[in-house]
């Protein structure tokens, strides 16, 4: 089972029927020249890459923008196109008056399977009181949270709000709720390692090819910045494959991970086993 835990639905067709909406999404998410990606073609790309499931992460900053970049209803409509392979998260602007209710609706009615938050975009820290109602909803329903962590390519995203160490309060207060520090919290990957080792409910993903080719980048990060045995022996059960599509193609990110000289059991865990546990999909 190969799961891409980190992909963005902004370019998918179906939700981009009019040019103004598409342009709004491209500008607000910061993918300025990309074209619409038909879902049928996305499935061809996934088949070609050998990816079984994708987790799509919508985002909502409607207090500033007037509407979500991708709404929860739109997310649900994308999942409905291929429910056996698409997993949709919810996106909620915590500044919305109806934030808690909307998250409950996203989980209970729309059947979305987790929450995506980019606190750098919101300019708030993880311990901000307005986030607590959302954390409580996720904890009560055992839904994971994908936190953007570290460097963000999106516009208007100061990194200080998403430094990995800032999420320690959430990991500690909600030990039964899985959280992922996306992008390995780059460039603070050492803080992310500490979080992975200390807190059983903290995960990280590999959506962090900001320089060089995926092969060279992952090799350098896991074998030079770190020692490959740190991943293999200390947090093999915590790192999940994520591509950051459409900023990078699924297939090329995956090739970079598969090129790492990992033990078979570790590779299997990174490519999908850890995501199954993070998402609560165990049977």
């Amino acid at each position: 089972m190969v799961i891409d835990i980190h992909a963005h639905p902004v370019l998918l067709d179906g939700i981009n029927k009019d040019p103004d909406t598409f342009e709004f999404r491209r500008k607000s998410f910061g993918v300025f020249k990309s074209g619409i990606n038909p879902i049928d073609f996305e499935l061809v790309l996934l088949d070609d890459a050998g990816i079984d499931k994708v987790v799509w992460l919508p985002e909502d900053y409607s207090k500033d923008m007037g509407k979500a970049i991708v709404s929860n209803d739109e997310m649900a409509s994308i999942v409905a196109k291929c429910p056996e392979r698409f997993i949709g998260f919810a996106g909620i602007d915590p500044r919305r008056e109806d934030a808690k209710k909307e998250l409950e609706r996203a989980f209970d009615e729309l059947k979305l399977q987790g929450l995506k938050l980019n606190l750098s975009r919101l300019h708030i820290y993880p311990d901000d009181p307005m986030l607590k109602p959302l954390y409580d909803v996720c904890a009560a329903r055992k839904k994971p949270i994908m936190f953007h962590a570290g460097y963000s390519w999106e516009p208007n995203t100061p990194a200080k709000f998403s430094e990995p160490i800032n999420f320690e309060c959430v990991a500690e207060e909600y030990p039964e709720m899985n959280i992922c520090l996306a992008h390995m919290g780059w460039p603070w990957w050492n803080e992310t390692i500490m979080m992975l080792m200390k807190y059983p409910n903290v995960y990280a993903d590999t959506s962090m090819v900001y320089m060089d080719s995926p092969r060279n980048y992952y090799s350098h990060l896991f074998s030079v910045n770190m020692n490959l045995n740190w991943l293999q022996n200390c947090f093999a059960d915590k790192v999940m494959f994520g591509s950051n599509n459409p900023r990078f193609r699924h297939v090329r990110s995956l090739d970079g991970i598969k090129n790492l000289p990992l033990r078979d059991d570790v590779m299997e865990a990174v490519l999908g086993g850890n995501a199954v546990r993070f998402l609560g999909l165990e049977v």
């Binding site: 993918v31 300025f32 020249k33 073609f41 090819v209 900001y210 080719s213 060279n216 459409p246």
Partner: protein, 142 residues
């Protein structure tokens, strides 16, 4: 008179040679132009338009030669985040192979038909698949 046609195709592999000779002939016929030239031009920077003999062994040699000249793994400069795109560049080999292949071809049109050598076929060549692609067929004449 000038007639411009645009054709769309979806490539299924990272490298793929797709014969488009029949599509070009059909466009020439549709144009109504009797005497002139036809140009076939790709709209992309990681694809090419090639003329060659349609033999699987030749196609394989082209693929192998391109890979030898432009290896997949090399410290290319075009491997980083592109601020103007908001995406990562990971397709330097595609750009370089496109440069080697060229972006177009031309043939005469006489008596309403494209004139080629007996073994000449026109290929749309993908160097950066899988993608949804477009190319233009421009028929110019009278």
């Amino acid at each position: 008179m000038v007639k411009l046609f645009e054709r769309k195709l979806t490539t299924k592999k990272e490298f793929e040679m797709i014969k488009i000779t029949d599509e070009v002939k059909a466009a020439v016929a549709e144009s109504g132009i009797k005497n002139g030239v036809v140009a076939v031009i790709t709209k992309h920077t990681t694809t090419g338009i090639m003329i060659n003999e349609a033999l699987p062994c030749v196609e394989k040699d082209i693929e192998i030669t391109m890979d030898r000249l432009v290896p997949k793994d090399y410290p290319y400069v075009h491997t980083h985040m592109l601020p103007t795109y908001g995406t990562c560049s990971g397709n330097a080999p595609g750009h370089l192979k496109s440069m080697l292949a060229g972006n177009h071809c031309m043939f005469p049109v006489i008596d309403g038909k494209m004139v080629t050598g007996g073994e000449q076929n026109i290929y749309f060549v993908e160097f950066d698949g899988l993608q949804i692609r477009r190319y233009m067929i421009m028929v110019m004449g009278e």
